[in-house]
Symmetry: C2
Subunit: 312 residues, 2 copies
């Protein structure tokens, strides 16, 4: 943490479903430049991003690392021959594309790749509301439900990246709406993400009254996921953001109450007991996304420096 | 892995709910001595264990580390002033007891403490069916449901140890039996552990026919937990053991099928595709428990050696 030389400059790319953001920032998280590219076919979008990076790398010699925070699924298993490739996705043309190769080629600096939500989690750890914490979760509820689960300072990872938004959870008694997830129906994302709310209510979330009973159903689903997160990784804080949460602040007290009811005193900790600090908004707001790949770049630079030290 | 000098001797204590097992073993997992003590009040049991250890340490000078694998809840947060203490437990006299202090005092060797299930998981990693894997889960379904979730070679840990057996999961449609967990009713443990099966069926699990519909309900609950495990940590293998599983081998095909149905193709990996290897029995059988604290001792010795090397 924070070992990157303060005068390093880091480059990052947030690859999103509708837009990509290229960012140049200091190791303190100060953004020096930011350029946006619409997400179209990869043969169009990737060269546009590459040209932006090329300009930056040509213009200054102090860019020390490059990070990519991508929409999923993306192969993050270093042991896989498909490392750095986008997985099967409905996004036209992107399935199987080697984004790592396409974006890192020609830039002779340490390179890091992870999911957008893991990047955002590490940005919160470095510069936001998870500063000083090694074990926490970053949850975003928007067009999907994403969770960056950080354990021992690293986003949790095995044969692939986490997909906690597709967790199976129990329903509110009597609620039998089938959910909107094409894979799982009533997983968390199928009950609580923006599209699920629209599908269930027949209207945009912004038009639904704050005291509508649907918010209890949404909050319950999220709280059940948090119950499972708490019993899995015992995170020291859960940051909860994304479009749905930001627009519906009444969800916070619902979720905190439902989480407490669900855990029913089974686990306790000083952190968990302060429920307003425990389930809290992220600190970086809209910057968590674009600073995500910068945090990945900073992390790989830290690790590279540690290795060099160990081998010196 | 396996960095411990092969000629090291390691001492371990498995603290269980009904018995405690003291073990002396080589770094290859060969058991040299084993002594059993009934679990009574701590003022009786802890001195008995201490006397066994004292004899071993006096008799030989080559014991290089000591590990304790304990029933939970036990404070494993190194940052807590209660580190090494048993938490609130119905076991008479044990709540708040400092087992670390009681058992390590007087033995000047590296000391490690974790839960019984995390110890067993690390034993499987070192000598059993998870050899060569850094990311896997060890699940035991017996009098309770325990999960040792290993990520990057370490049992997952935040402000405390995992309690994945108390995960919230959806029910089989139409099944409304309330479950047997005093905290959560129908969490995984409340549906699938031995006492839940007895309570629901009114008879010992061993007397229930292998084709009784209850096994579908039990297998479904376990499979829902595995769905969530897969999407959380993408483990490369899930070892599934414990008294209920060992006695009811028909659960394996049920659980594998229900897991596949539940994931519904959302994630794939070479590991996951081979379902008989992916959800598989542990390799150490009844030895996973007693070898658990030995694996903890071996791991702390590895880390101590690495530190010494780094600082040399």
């Amino acid at each position: 943490m924070g070992k990157v030389m303060a005068n390093s400059v880091l480059a990052g790319v947030e690859l999103g479903g509708t837009k990509c953001v290229c960012v140049l920032a200091t190791a303190d998280g100060e953004i020096l430049a930011q350029e946006r590219v619409e997400t179209a076919a990869p043969r169009v979008t990737l060269p546009q991003i590459k040209a932006i990076l090329r300009n930056w790398f040509d213009a200054r010699r102090d860019i020390a690392a490059l990070g990519i925070a991508s929409f999923g699924p993306v192969e993050v298993d270093q042991a896989s021959s498909n490392w750095g490739h986008i997985g099967q996705t409905p996004k036209a043309g992107w399935s199987g594309i080697d984004i790592a190769q396409a974006l890192r080629e020609g830039f002779d600096v340490p390179f890091a790749l992870d999911t957008d939500v893991n990047g955002a989690a590490l940005a919160e750890m470095r510069w936001g509301a998870a500063a000083g914490l090694d074990d926490f979760a970053y949850v975003t509820v928007g067009t999907g439900v994403g969770v960056g689960l950080v354990v021992g300072g690293q986003p949790i990872c095995g044969f692939g990246h986490a997909e906690l938004g597709h967790m199976r959870i129990p329903r509110v008694q009597g609620d039998s709406w089938p959910g909107s997830c094409p894979y799982h129906g009533d997983c968390v994302e199928g009950l609580a993400a923006g599209p699920a709310i629209v599908k269930r209510s027949g209207m945009r979330a912004g038009l639904i009254a704050q005291n509508d009973p649907i918010w209890h159903l949404v909050g319950h689903a999220i709280a059940q996921m948090l119950h499972n997160l708490v019993l899995t990784a015992t995170p020291r804080r859960i940051l909860l953001g994304g479009g749905v949460i930001t627009a519906q602040p009444q969800l916070f007290p619902i979720i905190r109450r439902e989480l407490e009811t669900s855990l029913n005193g089974y686990v306790s900790s000083p952190e968990l007991d302060k429920s307003e600090d425990y389930v809290a908004p992220p600190g970086l707001g809209a910057l968590a996304g674009p600073l995500g790949p910068v945090a990945l770049a900073a992390a790989i630079l830290d690790r590279t420096a540690l290795h060099a030290e160990a081998n010196a």
